[in-house]
Symmetry: C2
Subunit: 215 residues, 2 copies
């Protein structure tokens, strides 16, 4: 299963790093906690970080009914959602070949608002479970006012491209002779020890799904 490259998603720069398979795109989307959403308002681009969840071949986004971004997207404005995972600093022998190891997805399209209440609640569940799996069954679900204040959007994953860079630096042949250290400094996102709310009710234990992060 692949995305059909379009004139807009075709990879011009370093095409050897480009990919169009859905499996690569989906694993990046499912690993990242946030995306950056780009939209245009009065000719000006805006890029806003927000959380996302993938629902099969669509991406779910949410926000307040009062937000400029959500209003813009609901109105069918063209958008770009980019997700980037940073994997390392690539230290080359030449300044020019310094780079980053990363995995990124760029999605183009337009979103539609989810208005069906059941579908909207299900989308809220997916977005919450995306933060920490296991959370939805034990928390208080949205009440009517919260439900109304939240806008849920669905973006079909139709036009997208993936770029991945891995491995050591690519040098000019003659640079391999230089007395300069070269390689990769790995970067990774770590999950720390859960910090209980100071107002946590006495007797409430850390749930099983957070135990692996306890130190």
């Amino acid at each position: 299963m692949t995305f059909e490259p379009t004139e807009r998603t075709e990879i011009h720069r370093l095409p050897e790093n480009g990919r169009f398979d859905r499996a690569s795109a989906y694993s990046i989307l499912d690993e990242a906690f946030i995306c950056h959403v780009g939209f245009v308002d009065d000719g000006q681009p805006f890029v806003i970080p927000t959380i996302h969840a993938r629902d099969e071949d669509t991406l779910l986004l949410h926000g307040s009914v009062a937000s400029r971004m959500l209003r813009n997207l609901r109105d069918g404005g063209p958008l770009c959602v980019t997700v980037t995972l940073l994997d390392g600093l690539v230290l080359a022998r030449s300044a020019f070949e310094h780079s980053m190891n990363y995995r990124s997805v760029v999605i183009l399209g337009t979103a539609t608002e989810i208005t069906d209440p059941d579908e909207k609640l299900r989308a809220m569940e997916l977005l919450t479970e995306r933060i920490v799996a296991g959370r939805w069954p034990e928390i208080r679900h949205p009440n009517e006012a919260e439900f109304r204040k939240t806008r849920m959007l669905r973006l079909p994953l139709e036009e997208a491209s993936v770029k991945v860079r891995t491995g050591p630096p690519d040098e000019e042949e003659e640079d391999y002779e230089l007395d300069v250290w070269a390689g990769v400094v790995p970067l990774m996102q770590k999950v720390g020890n859960p910090l209980a709310d100071p107002l946590l009710k006495a007797g409430v234990e850390l749930p099983a799904y957070l135990q692996p992060y306890r130190r």
Copy 2:
């Protein structure tokens, strides 16, 4: 020193998280390894991850002369540069108050190309040193062809806003009575053990500035 809020950078959503002081913005810009650059091409927004470096009250960006993004920005197209640092998952007792702890900067403006050769070389040095400080003095500097192939841009830091969320969840008063664990799961970017290029010349040692990451 603060940014003057404009109609475009004014914080409408959760204004209590908004800031306009340069010190907050600069510390976020200086800590993050990458930014997301938004630009508009034929009405379509694009959001591209790239590295950046701050030079006093300006932001340096670079790229290939062949890149669509760099061509667009050099031509004075409006842009938005967003930098986001993710600090934690905020697990509330209610679905609605689930959130992220984060620090983000949104910069609006137009970039200008750096054409003066000395200034351009200095910008290249700043961008390389941004990846790992101490690197520039020992690596091979750009040759004429590499220098020509690289476009350097400068974006004045004039119109910008900062959003920061920290601390435990904000709940509805009555939710504090629920038997649900609530708190923050910290997230942080970690630097791993440097991996030498398999083609590293024999006898080249790990430089002093990378020793702290050795395990």
